[in-house]
Symmetry: C2
Subunit: 162 residues, 2 copies
């Protein structure tokens, strides 16, 4: 038995404090990291498992971030790429809070409008980008300033990260 | 105890067949995934641990890819971002091969020259991009066609993925 491989089995353990995002759509974990602004260079222990078997959905991704308690306004952005995800806040090894990600009625200061000429993208304007969710099922979004319709697939690269 | 969190502890297990890349420089795991062309959408079980304590280096990242045996020419590309990484090929839960990533003398068909006007980037030319490693310590690379000097930091986005 090789030691360093033995060692790596021990890496992904229960976290004492932090956030576990479960039931992410299989293959979407890297998008979730991107949306949350997690690169690994922040220094926190982060673990990601992709395409693992799941009872609820056929396959899923799971993300754990130690020592970071993700707020609703951060995790609600995930509804765009991981609508089925559940967020577990862990304190002292126990789940202190459990919530589903949910599309809010409006993203205020969280997403950029994809229209480059939208007034909300002008540097000199003191405007908070405001994107309304006009259809939560589809889902479909709309910029309040230029009225552009926005589909989730074009939003994930335009998330304003923490 | 919450079931779904309990469940996630079981996700990152020893892999039966596949590749474990250990001792990746802390925070570089996502670059390693990018270089290997792994997005998660391929469907294989992939796990990533970032910033975990290590005996050899202070902190490290670890990557496991199930059912994929990475060849030397694939993992040698990692020397650009993860020079200390070790590659373990796992078969039937055991390490069947262990190697260090190593900068080759030349990258042939593996990296694109960053010079957009280099003849190796012309679509109509039947040329295999050829990048020589002229200094393995620094490290420093050089395009054999346009003689452009290339630093590793500008290469990782230009890796020709599988």
């Amino acid at each position: 038995m090789d030691l360093s491989v033995e060692e790596t089995q021990l890496l992904i353990r229960r976290i004492k404090e932090g956030t576990v995002i479960d039931h992410i759509k299989a293959g979407e974990a890297l998008h979730v990291l991107e949306i949350l602004g997690i690169t690994g260079l922040e220094g926190e222990i982060v673990s990601v498992a992709m395409n693992v078997p799941s009872s609820k959905i056929e396959k899923k991704d799971v993300l754990k971030v130690a020592n970071r308690f993700l707020k609703s306004e951060e995790t609600d952005k995930l509804a765009l790429v991981a609508p089925q995800a559940t967020v577990n806040i862990i304190q002292n090894y126990k789940v202190s809070e459990k919530r589903k990600v949910e599309l809010p009625d409006v993203f205020r200061g969280l997403l950029k409008c994809p229209n480059p000429t939208c007034i909300s993208n002008m540097k000199n304007e003191p405007i908070t980008p405001t994107i309304d969710v006009i259809d939560k099922e589809a889902p479909l979004l709309k910029c309040r300033f230029c009225q552009r319709l926005i589909s989730p697939s074009e939003t994930f690269l335009r998330v304003i990260t923490a």
